[in-house]
Structure formats: C-alpha cells, structure tokens
C-alpha cells in the first residue's frame, strides 16, 4: 500500500518536474511498463554494453544506480559471449536463461544525445524507448548527473518508482561543507574555510544554508552552489544561529537562535533575511533541528523543554505543539534530529540506546517505532526523496562516515570514505537545467 502511494506520488512529482524538452516521449509516461517477474522479488535487469566514448562508464554508472535503488536485481551480463549491442541484435533467450526480465540498452547517437531502450525479455520486444540529452563532456559532473537521470527514468519504467541517483548529499567534514553525488562520486568542498555545521538544501536544489562560526558566534549563511559568495541571513546577530531548514515552498528559513536565555526557533524570509519571527517559546530550554512536513504546515524539532531532548511537532507558527517521541521505550531519555519523510507519513530521528545513538522511524498515524540500526553509533538521519532510503552518520567502521540505508530491505552501503564525515542532508530530485 505504502509503496503504491509512494510510486504514485513519485510519478506525479516526476511528471511535474520533467523539463519541456522531455515531453515528446513514446509510450506511457509515469506508468510502469508491465514486465513479467516473480511477484515480491526484484526484477532482474541486464545493462547491455554501450559502444562509443564513455560507453563503459555509462554502463557501469547505470548498473550501479539501479543496484543502489534497491528495487532491481542487476544481473552481470559481461560473461555472456554474444552481448547484444546495436538495434535489432538482441537474443532474448540467453538473457531469459540468466533470469533477466528486462534489458537496458543505451546507444550514443550524438555526443549530446543518447537513446535508451528497455527490452521486455518475456515479450521479446522494446517496451519503452526515449532519447535523452546529455552533457557532451564525458566524465564531467554534469555528464554524470545526466547519466544518473537516465538511470532514474529507467528505474521508473521498470518499477513504477523514480530512482534517486540524480540527487546529491551535503555533509560536513573538517569544518567545511561538502557535496557528493548519491553514488559517492564527485565529492567537493563548497565552503572554503572556517567551521561550518548543519548544512541544509533549499528545495530548488542549488541553494544551501548552513551555520558558520564567526568571531562573535554562529551565523546562518545561504550559498548558491553554482557560484557566488555566501550571504548571511540571520537577523539576530551574534550568539548562536544554527540548524537552518527551508520551508517546502522555499520562501522561509527556520533556524535555531540562542543568546542568553535558551535557544528557540525563528523564521526569516529565505533569501532576504529581515525581521525574524519567533516560533517556539522554550523558556530557557533548547529548541533546535527543525524539519518541515511536506505540506509546509507543521514542523518537527528537538526540544529539551521536558528536561531532556525529545522530538516535538508543532504548527509552523509554533501553536499546537505536541510531544512526538514517547519516553517509554529505550533506556535513555535522549531523542533528537528529526527529519520528516517526503511522503509525510513518518519521521526519522535518533534515539540513545545503551549510550549510543540509533536511527529510528516513528509512524505519525499510530506512533509505532521501528529501529533501523544497531551497529556502532548512528546519527543525523536524512531521507532520500524516495522516502525509502536514509543517509546518516555511523561509527560502524571506526571513525564517522556516511552510510545509506534502504529502510525496506535493511541493506546499507558506505557513501563516504574520508574520515570525519557527518551531518548529512539529502537533496530533492535534482532536475536537469533547461
């Protein structure tokens, strides 16, 4: 049920987000192509070899993206003696015997255009095909993102759910904010020096906000990833200004401000700054780490108002506040860092168990709790736009690193490999610039 709603939501999002040049497609858009495979299992898919410059990389990236999506079983077809490439040369029998339900065939038409066909192995025909524009400089960041975009569309054709490969993740390492592609490639620093914390995405996918330490305290700055200098937006100067979060419509920035009487949440216009509107009345307690519901009406945040940190929800104006995380589970009273799921139905947060944080979700309808991690200390969860994957910080391999977890299968993968990576934030779907 939840999957179907997810899929429908993703399809609607995807359809709304598609740029104008993608409208002239063949076949059905937003509907899965109806492959035959065992119900409850993942469809087996072979990514066929790709001829031409960068072809091997395209094949490797698409295969990895489909694997990381956790909805498809990627079959390694490289050992097959007669790999089909080029139109009309597909021998379906071989692939069917390997367990493939579908073949992905990518053909480089021009340096800036590729044709992608998905073959239905059982029906022995092309089930879906479309031409995709692609950045001409093979191997560049833009080119990689275009290949990820192809993977995501292929995943939607096959499973009905858009993939999350064309996304990026912000995090902090050594006092600087970094960004990395969803597959762990293309890591780069986006702040130059100093001490930054708590990076957050603007829904437009190219502005970010974070907290930067200055001489008199912490300020929230907004930065355009495409270039330009960081702009401070916190009106309350000095003291503590941290944990920014943009509203889903991109108009507001909510952050925690603390001076000498606790830390409370405030809202300012996202880009212009200006007079801050107070949201919480913590009366000397700490209120931090806000996250918005997808409709922008509610926020969840960490508050110490009961004497220890717990997760609360409230309307955007601070009214109708309620305690979300109950005290009667776990052995320590410390729950924090909520992130509202993209489908609006649950919140992921961290809870201390046996002295270590673990990642948990709470269902907003029945308040049921699900523990997702148990190995090492696990913190700062952030949802992927599919509402299924979560990125978080873990010490399971020693020092802090980022990991991605599939909340449905429990499968996880290590995203970063340089020590001290933490405070990750997953972007929305990143669309191709028109």
């Amino acid at each position: 049920m939840s999957l179907r709603i997810c899929a429908a939501a993703a399809a609607i999002l995807a359809a709304a987000a598609l740029p104008a040049h993608a409208q002239d497609t063949t076949g059905q858009r937003g509907v899965r192509i109806g492959l035959t495979y065992t119900p409850g299992s993942k469809p087996g898919v072979v990514v066929l070899p790709v001829d031409g410059p960068g072809g091997d990389s395209v094949r490797a990236i698409v295969g990895r993206d489909l694997d990381f999506g956790d909805r498809i079983e990627v079959i390694d077809g490289s050992g097959v003696s007669q790999p089909a490439s080029g139109n009309g040369a597909v021998s379906y029998g071989i692939w069917k015997s390997l367990g493939a339900a579908a073949l992905v065939q990518v053909t480089l038409i021009t340096p800036s255009l590729v044709r992608v066909a998905v073959h239905d192995v059982t029906a022995k025909k092309v089930a879906q095909s479309r031409d995709f524009p692609i950045a001409a400089d093979v191997g560049s960041a833009a080119w990689r993102m275009d290949v990820h975009g192809i993977s995501d569309e292929v995943e939607r054709w096959i499973t009905g759910v858009r993939g999350i490969a064309r996304t990026r993740i912000l995090y902090v390492k050594g006092g600087r904010v970094y960004v990395v592609d969803s597959d762990g490639y293309g890591e780069r620093a986006v702040t130059s020096s100093g001490t930054a914390l708590a990076p957050a995405w603007h829904p437009d996918g190219h502005h970010i906000a974070y907290s930067q330490l200055g001489t008199s305290g912490w300020n929230v700055e907004v930065l355009d990833l495409a270039g330009g200098s960081a702009r401070p937006v916190t009106a309350t100067s000095g003291g503590l200004n941290t944990t920014p979060a943009f509203s889903p419509d991109g108009q507001w920035l909510v952050y925690a401000h603390g001076a000498e009487n606790g830390t409370d949440l405030y809202a300012v216009p996202a880009f212009t700054g200006g007079a801050a509107r107070r949201i919480t009345l913590g009366r000397g307690t700490d209120n931090v780490s806000p996250t918005f519901s997808p409709d922008g009406r509610r926020i969840a945040f960490t508050s110490g108002r009961s004497g220890h940190p717990e997760v609360y929800t409230a309307d955007f104006d601070g009214s109708n506040m309620e305690l979300l995380t109950p005290f009667n589970f776990g052995d320590q009273n410390y729950r924090s860092n909520p992130d509202w799921s993209p489908d609006g139905r649950s919140i992921v947060f961290q809870s201390q168990l046996a002295g270590l944080f673990q990642i948990m979700t709470i269902n907003l309808r029945d308040r049921s709790i699900k523990q997702l991690t148990s190995e090492g200390a696990n913190e700062d969860p952030s949802w992927a736009p599919d509402g299924r994957h979560v990125v978080f910080t873990s010490t399971r391999t020693g020092v802090k690193q980022l990991f991605v977890l599939d909340t449905e299968s429990g499968r996880s993968r290590q995203l970063t490999h340089s020590s001290g990576s933490r405070l990750s934030a997953w972007s929305r779907y990143l669309d191709r610039a028109p």
Binding site: G175, T195, L197, A198, S211, L213, S216, G217, W218, G238, G239, L240, T242, T243, A256, G258, A259, E260, N261, G262, T263, G284, D286, N287, V288, S289, T302, G304, H308, P309, Y334, S336, N337, Q350, G355, F357, E379, D380, R422, L423
Partner: protein, 201 residues
C-alpha cells in the same frame, strides 16, 4: 595569555632604562682641569668619589626596587589571570553550576571587580555524546549560565560575551568519562583590558 604578559614588559623596561639614564648622568659630565695638588683637592676628590659611589648605590637600589615591583606586578597579574581564565566544569547534559563552579565564579567576580576595564568571553563546550546540533545549544546555555551568575552579582552585561563551541573543540580526545568530564566546560578568555590585572580587593 603569554602574549598579554609580554605586552607588560616593554613598559617596565622603559621605566628601568629611564632610571638607569638618571644615575649615569654624573659619569657623562666633562672632566674638569686637574687643580694643583693639595689636601683640599684630595678631600674634594674623595668627596666626589663618595658622591659618585652614593649615586651609583642609589641607582642600584632604585633598579632593584623597580625590578621587585615589576616582579610583584607580574606575579599579581599571573595569579589574577589564572583565576579569571580557569575553566569551570559541568555534569552531563546540564548547565547547572556546581558548588565548585560557583566558587570559581566568585573568585572571577573579585578579579572583574578589581579590574573594571577588563572584558571577557565565556565559551561553552560539551562532551562528544549527544547530538552535535543540540550540543551547540547546550554549550550556549552553559556559557550563558556563567555569565548570568556574574552579571547578577554586579558585573556589567557589556563586559561579557558568550559563545558556544558545542562538541567541536574538545580538550581531551578520549571516549570515556575522564575525557568527557574535561570537555564539559566553560572557558574564559580575556577580550580587552587584561594587560595588567590587579588582584581581587
């Protein structure tokens, strides 16, 4: 802190140099024509030599007194500095001031009262446990708590800044209580008027 102490030294050296220059004056006076040898001239020469010796002794005494005063001031400054910048420590997830922390703040209060031009910054810190983000707020609360203690006892609000470093600046690197207890602290830094601190009155 060392930098601030060093800034005191040039002034003292100047004073000492000035005293030294006063004492040297007779030596640099031009030598008069030798008078004809008689008892008077011998007595006069002896008197002159005695006078030079006395001046020299006075110069030495004055230098010693200046040195002693400089040493005393330096020691007073160092002691006051140590009192004013000594960290205070907190319990886990708490900004409550222990008896020990309050006593340390009382001592700082005396120094701040004796040095009305001195300004400080209180930096709140936490241990590594807890959320990185929540810890920034906790550190802020710890710094604000110490500031409130001082301002409620008469120190002007404008003389004290607060900042939080959360868990970002540990002094002990371990992952056990002995390290954590050292990291749950307020640090005190002089931001102005701390060149020559006087002892509490």
């Amino acid at each position: 802190m060392i930098g601030k102490t060093r800034r005191v030294a040039p002034a003292l050296l100047l004073a000492i140099a000035a005293l030294a220059a006063c004492g040297k004056k007779p030596e640099t006076a031009p030598t008069p024509e030798p008078p004809p040898i008689n008892q008077d001239s011998i007595d006069a020469a002896r008197a002159r030599a005695d006078s030079i010796a006395r001046a020299e002794q006075a110069r030495r005494d004055s230098l010693a007194r200046a040195q002693a005063e400089a040493d005393r001031l330096r020691a007073e400054h160092q002691a006051a500095l140590a009192t004013l910048t000594a960290p205070i420590y907190f319990e886990y997830d708490s900004d409550a001031l222990s008896a020990q922390a309050s006593a340390a703040l009382d001592a700082k209060l005396g120094i701040l009262n004796a040095n009305p031009d001195t300004r400080i910054r209180i930096a709140g810190n936490t241990d590594e446990r807890g959320s990185d983000e929540y810890n920034l707020a906790l550190g802020q609360r710890r710094a604000a708590q110490a500031k409130r203690y001082l301002t409620q006892r008469g120190i002007a609000d404008s003389r004290i800044d607060v900042i939080s470093y959360g868990e970002e600046r540990p002094v002990a690197d371990g992952h056990d209580e002995s390290a954590w207890s050292q990291n749950r602290r307020d640090e005190f830094e002089i931001t102005g008027g701390g060149q020559q601190l006087k002892a509490a009155r």
